[in-house]
């Protein structure tokens, strides 16, 4: 670092100038925020983002001819980048501390809302600082690429990776589309619902052949027969059914498992037998023994569903043992995907296992939670993001850089103190 002359606005610039510039930009951001109420990301929709991206690259190219100037060194230097990161940190801190809304308009007349603190992602100060970071980081990368040194590979991986992520995700935000699509079994659907509940016809159609789900063995609990409140009231206890643990304790009772049927259907004598069909429900034959009075009760419990009633085991006039609703283990939509001029595609959609159809990605989103396995529809989420490959390239580069960082640590031999 060159020695500072200490005079404001005299090169080389350092923190004073950086803070002044960044604060100035933030103030401009707040003024824009108050006057326009929000940064409208839809302004960046294709082809505007492509043009803007090209202009950024053009700027970086032309700017690079001044790379030996003090201004360039400052703009791509540590003082400015530290100030920019600090500004991003402070803006993110506001975002992290106050509840955020999806709305683009002020939710109320408070200063907090007028300044955009409750919708930071679309606020002008954040957008401007983000954009400035892309330019500053870009200028740094250009300077270092011109003076290329292979030994700085970690630097290149991390900085280029990060720049790509910031550039592609920022500019691509406006092109990203997201829809929810509810498809009933045996039907074909091509209309999607936007975040604003508007219906739009999509270039992708989905046919739902089948929806099914698997559940975990449920838990048992003692509930108040009148109120349904799980006991003990202030600290509810659950006992998870586990084939390896046929005996357990539950709120002062010892529970013994005699039989557990995962897919059970009720017999006419209120016992259960195994049937593999959508309407079946988990059921268990249990014995409960009171730890103090040694009172003993035996019988079937069943969580029930829309197709068959639940069954509880009464302990006395006030309490009974009930089987909780089972929690989902996996749910699957068997679908066909239709796209214009493309072959029909078959896919099994699951949570964490989306299906990629070109720039569209189809996700298992939800189902009729009351009906569970008997749900006659499946809700899917369709996301269109043409900028994704660039972001993934950035993620890949940054991850490679992170591995280098872990491997080599701080490579500088001599640290000055």
């Amino acid at each position: 670092m060159n020695q500072r002359s200490g005079r404001f606005w005299q090169y080389p610039w350092c923190y004073k100038e950086s803070v002044a510039v960044v604060s100035g930009i933030i103030v401009v951001g707040f003024i824009l925020q108050i006057t326009t109420m929000a940064f409208d990301f839809s302004l960046l929709k294709y082809p505007v983002n492509l043009i803007l991206g090209f202009l950024v690259l053009l700027f970086l190219f032309i700017f690079s001819f001044w790379r030996n100037r003090d201004f360039y060194k400052w703009f791509s230097g540590i003082s400015f980048s530290v100030t920019l990161i600090t500004a991003l940190l402070l803006l993110a801190l506001i975002m992290g501390l106050t509840p955020q809304t999806d709305s683009h308009l002020p939710s109320n007349a408070s200063l907090h809302s007028i300044l955009g603190f409750d919708r930071m992602v679309s606020s002008w100060p954040l957008v401007l600082i983000y954009f400035l970071t892309i330019l500053s980081l870009g200028a740094l990368i250009v300077r270092r690429i011109i003076a290329f040194q292979i030994k700085d590979y970690t630097f290149y991986l991390i900085h280029i990776g990060l720049w790509l992520i910031l550039f592609a995700s920022g500019l691509g935000a406006a092109d990203r589309e997201r829809y929810l699509m509810r498809v009933y079994e045996g039907e074909v659907e091509w209309r999607g619902l936007t975040d604003k509940n508007e219906i739009k016809e999509l270039p992708v159609a989905i046919e739902l052949n089948d929806f099914y789900m698997e559940v975990y063995p449920p838990s048992l609990a003692i509930i108040d027969r009148n109120t349904g409140i799980i006991q003990p009231e202030n600290k509810p206890e659950f006992f998870a059914i586990d084939a390896q643990r046929p005996e357990g304790k539950l709120a002062g009772w010892t529970i013994l498992f005699e039989k557990y049927i995962h897919q059970a259907v009720r017999n006419s004598d209120s016992s259960y037998h195994e049937v593999h069909m959508p309407g079946s429900s988990p059921a268990a034959k249990i014995t409960a023994i009171n730890s103090i009075t040694a009172a003993e009760y035996s019988g079937w419990v069943c969580s029930g569903n829309v197709a068959q009633l639940y069954m509880t085991l009464n302990l006395d006039t006030n309490y009974c043992i009930a089987m909780m609703r089972p929690e989902p283990k996996r749910f699957v939509s068997d679908i066909h995907v239709y796209r214009k001029d493309k072959e029909v595609e078959h896919a099994l959609l699951e949570v964490n296992k989306p299906y990629r159809a070109g720039a569209w990605i189809i996700y298992q989103h939800s189902y009729d939670e009351v009906a569970g396995n008997l749900s006659n529809y499946s809700e899917m989420e369709l996301v269109y993001d043409p900028w994704l490959p660039f972001v993934y390239t950035g993620i890949f580069l940054l991850a490679a850089g992170a591995l280098c960082l872990i491997w080599a640590g701080n490579k500088r031999k001599e640290a000055r103190i």
């Binding site: 283990k329 949570v351 996700y363 960082l405």
Partner: protein, 258 residues
């Protein structure tokens, strides 16, 4: 194995770590290393047993996160101590691991056993594991920064210690980035977007930004006092990301609340 048998492993492990942390100053370093490793081994057996017993990686509840935290803190503390010959690091990491183990004993947050579908992903274990590695390295960096700060106050900062701090921060930051990127890829697969400014994500960003400031500020090799103070501050932000987010009003409805 279930949480019921935790005490049988936690107490011997803690005794090992505690004695390792003390004996390193009194007797030979080798005995203390051996004790430290024994403690880690006992803890490993419990984690493995719990993993098998529950039929899923024990990485879902805060209590289980603490389990890994103790494990990695002692492991990384041991390796780093062996590499850099800093005895205090072993004692400190042992102590913090014991504190987290005690929290698990006295306040077990053991929730339902089942893993919801969104958490059933190959990215789950690496996502949490690299974060815990990163947190452990940052915790060590914070402790080292306090020692350097006190040395700086006496006017004799230690170059070797600076190298250690920077090394811990660099490697910790590498793990932190991996954690975030794995999270991004996982989020894209599970929720449809790689970054949605979920409160936990926002705070992860804040934490990363703070460490980024330290890394860049260090390269200027001036304002040493301010630069060093960034580390405790950054660790405070990290703690909010890790534990505090669940209690923030802004985090109601976060996908990361468990």
């Amino acid at each position: 194995m279930t949480w019921d048998s935790f005490l049988w492993f936690a107490v011997p492990a803690m005794i090992c770590w505690l004695s390792a942390g003390i004996l390193i100053y009194l007797t030979s370093v080798k005995i203390s290393y051996l004790l430290m490793l024994t403690g880690i081994l006992i803890f490993t057996v419990f984690i493995a047993g719990l993993w098998i017993g529950q039929g899923r990686p024990p990485l879902r509840t805060l209590g289980e996160t603490r389990l890994w935290y103790s494990f990695f803190l002692t492991t990384v503390g041991f390796i780093t101590c062996k590499h850099w010959k800093y005895k205090w690091l072993l004692s400190y990491s042992a102590m913090i691991a014991i504190i987290f183990t005690c929290i698990n004993i006295f306040k077990p947050e053991i929730h339902s056993k089942n893993l919801m579908p969104a958490l059933q992903s190959y990215w789950f274990v690496p996502h949490v594991t690299v974060y815990i590695l990163s947190y452990a390295l940052f915790a060590a960096a914070t402790i080292a920064s306090f020692i350097q700060l006190s040395k700086l106050g006496k006017g004799n900062s230690n170059a070797q210690l600076y190298r250690l701090i920077d090394n811990l921060v660099y490697t910790g930051f590498g793990f932190l980035m991996l954690g975030m990127l794995i999270g991004c890829i996982w989020a894209k697969e599970a929720w449809g977007h790689y970054w949605s400014w979920d409160p936990k994500e926002t705070w992860a960003f804040i934490t990363a930004a703070a460490y980024l400031i330290y890394i860049h500020k260090r390269r200027q090799e001036k304002d040493f006092l301010i630069t060093l103070w960034i580390l405790p501050f950054a660790f405070l932000l990290l703690l909010i990301t890790w534990i505090g987010v669940n209690y923030l009003p802004s985090a109601q409805g976060s996908v990361h609340v468990y």
